[in-house]
């Protein structure tokens, strides 16, 4: 039975989405319950998958769709490939989805009115797409799954207000360019190799020594450009701030922690498994240095732009841009520490962003204001929420024992090992900027007073007096926040173990 786990992880939310659509819009509670159950089952199965891969001494699970055996050493069908890295990311994705569904119960009806069933269907299909991306071993299947996640995100964002619709349109344009570039790159590879399976492409490239061919280099550049657009790597990040900031609050918490990180995973997959370490890091191509400088600019720009914002959500989205810069730079450093650090950062950044976004949405909802003023005196009024926010903030700054500290530690040691001092400096700089940002917020939250009320203050419940209305939110919304902060701490405490697992998997790539 365990060999079917990868498929089951995908199938359960898929069925959940279909059932939700059939339930229709008249029964929002059942829709919520169905998605909760399906995502819960899916995360449990993915946890079992992690255990199964570990127990099997890190052997990857290979799952052939349709059961077609190889012919002359080439895969004929589509193959799923789950190693410890994929299993960890799948678990993170399904777990975040599950916890988010708990969070969305109270807000679903208010924000999307009578389209609740479609919302939950789209959410589950998004999770299906993300898990599929992580597990697949076929380049074209990857494209189809990227488009599934993109289409669900476009629709989910556009369900908001009018600014959200405009940002979604920009996202559509940029996202399609990115995905099409990826498709073009895959086409180039197919012309030269004749197969679409990731391992087989690597084999053919190695056998026929196609590394120096112009088309392979161009294919690599196109695939990279496509994936960078999708993960909002500076300067291709234009769609991210508006799209995530104006999205309805529940969709923001679903998408912000997951989409860009899974794209970083795709980038690492393509670099290490599709093209191979020798090709990417060999000295003949100057792009190593170039990409690291680009990531340095991304980190610095992201941090500075976040500093300049007064709107909480916009600020968080620029921090995401900076985090993506960390990961891209880490992956391109050229050593296993850097790659493993970047991968560890995928997990820790998912946790951090999740925690911060939930906290920010709760605060924005309660206070009715999304500017930094919202934080005035919040430690007294909403202490529990602020604790959750603080955990996420400390992780962004990089203080132990949160996971942010350890991921920065690994990335910095990878940078020192590779001799890329500009990268190390950028990381330290960004930690300082994050500290400034968040301590400013903490100062307001401790010492500020509510001096002015926004004109269109919309109270969360019937209490219209801003002084007393800002109290804690119901437990169903706080509970996910605590799980998220717990996740942040857990990933931090387990960092040694996780890092060793990741390093083992990366070293197992047969060159």
């Amino acid at each position: 039975m365990t060999e079917h786990f990868p498929v089951l992880i995908l199938l359960v939310p898929l069925f959940g989405a279909l059932i939700v659509v059939l339930l229709g819009k008249e029964r929002p509670n059942q829709c919520w319950m169905t998605s909760l159950i399906s995502l819960g089952i899916s995360s449990i199965i993915s946890l079992f998958t992690v255990v199964a891969v570990l127990a099997d001494k890190f052997q990857t699970i290979r799952y052939r769709m349709g059961g077609w055996p190889e012919s002359n050493g080439y895969e004929v069908g589509i193959e799923l490939r789950v190693d410890i890295l994929a299993a960890l990311v799948v678990f993170a994705v399904t777990f975040v989805g599950f916890v988010n569904t708990i969070y969305s119960k109270t807000r679903a009806e208010a924000e999307v009115q009578d389209k609740v069933s479609f919302f939950y269907a789209l959410i589950q299909l998004l999770i299906v797409g993300l898990c599929g991306i992580v597990m697949t071993n076929d380049a074209f299947n990857l494209y189809v799954l990227i488009e599934i996640t993109s289409l669900t995100s476009y629709a989910l964002i556009a369900m908001g207000n009018r600014r959200a619709a405009l940002s979604s349109f920009n996202y559509v344009i940029m996202g399609t360019i990115g995905a099409s570039f990826y498709l073009l790159g895959v086409g180039y590879l197919y012309i030269k190799t004749g197969t679409l399976n990731i391992d087989d492409i690597r084999m053919v490239l190695g056998n026929n020594n196609l590394w120096e061919h112009q088309s392979i280099i161009v294919a690599f550049i196109f695939i990279m450009l496509g994936v960078w657009t999708k993960m909002a790597f500076f300067p291709l990040h234009g769609w991210l701030p508006n799209a995530y900031a104006y999205a309805p609050s529940m969709t923001g918490t679903f998408m912000a922690p997951l989409m860009t990180k899974v794209m970083v995973y795709v980038m690492i997959r393509v670099m290490v498994w599709l093209f191979g370490n020798e090709f990417v890091y060999s000295g003949q191509h100057v792009w190593g240095e170039l990409v690291i400088w680009m990531s340095v600019i991304a980190i610095v720009a992201g941090s500075l732009l976040a500093l300049a914002r007064t709107d909480i959500k916009k600020m968080l989205t620029y921090l995401i841009v900076a985090e993506v810069g960390y990961m891209v730079g880490g992956a391109w450093l050229g050593n296993v520490t850097g790659q493993a650090g970047a991968f560890y950062h995928i997990l820790s950044d998912a946790a951090m962003t999740f925690c911060l976004f939930i906290a920010a949405s709760i605060i924005v909802l309660r206070v009715g204001d999304s500017r930094v003023n919202a934080f005035d005196n919040l430690f007294r009024k909403m202490p529990l929420t602020m604790i959750g926010f603080t955990v996420g903030a400390l992780s962004m700054i990089g203080l132990p024992p949160t996971c942010g500290f350890f991921s920065k530690w690994y990335l910095i040691s990878g940078g020192i090992e590779a001799g890329q001092w500009e990268y190390v400096c950028a990381l330290i700089f960004s930690s300082l900027v994050n500290a400034v940002i968040f301590f400013r917020i903490f100062e307001r939250a401790y010492f500020g007073q509510i001096t002015e009320v926004k004109e269109d203050f919309v109270p969360f419940d019937s209490d219209a007096n801003p002084e007393t209305a800002i109290k804690e939110v119901p437990w169903s919304m706080l509970f996910p926040l605590f799980i998220a902060s717990g996740f942040v701490l857990l990933v931090g405490i387990m960092n040694r173990t996780l890092f060793e697992w990741i390093q083992t998997a990366l070293k197992m790539v047969n060159t």
Partner: protein, 161 residues
């Protein structure tokens, strides 16, 4: 100078003219998507771009002597005369005009089916994206009253925070 250009054209462009066409189409689509102001024109550019990629893929599978990728048994008797006639120019040495000789199938006679399959999927994805983008632009039009990007941004700017 002229012979150099001529050989360059003859070696690189003429046998591969299909690829040059697609690149030009893609550039047209990309230009429209990025520079045009009207949202509808951007969408049209997106459609052109995606169609160019689809054409690129399909052209990979074309072979000189190949027909459609469907193995046909029935047409062989009727078309015997025609196939013998068309075979005379081909480079294969088979004697029988039927595409299926005994139990093996000559793969030179059939176009590569894999790009066709991939592009069916890509066309469907493109149509879905276009439909969703049209719905979003309808919503934008309903909220803003215009589809020109600069007018929309102007409407947002004075009233925004």
């Amino acid at each position: 100078m002229d012979p150099i250009i001529a050989t360059f054209i003859e070696d690189n462009i003429v046998p591969k003219f299909n690829y040059w066409i697609y690149v030009i189409l893609m550039m047209i689509g990309l230009y429209a998507m990025i520079t045009k102001n009207n949202l509808m024109k951007k969408l049209i550019g997106m459609a052109i771009f995606q169609t160019a990629i689809i054409l690129f893929y399909v052209s990979i599978g074309v072979k000189d002597t190949a027909g459609i990728p469907i193995i046909s048994h029935h047409g062989s008797e009727h078309h015997q005369g025609a196939t013998v006639h068309s075979e005379s120019g081909s480079s294969s040495e088979e004697v029988s005009p039927v595409k299926v000789k005994n139990n093996t199938i000559d793969k030179d006679k059939y176009a590569n089916p894999l790009p066709h399959v991939l592009m069916l999927t890509a066309i469907v994805v493109g149509v879905s994206t276009l439909g969703l983008a049209l719905a979003i632009s309808q919503k934008i039009f309903k909220s803003f009253g215009t589809l020109e990007e600069d007018e929309i941004l102007n409407k947002l700017r004075p009233g925004s925070q």
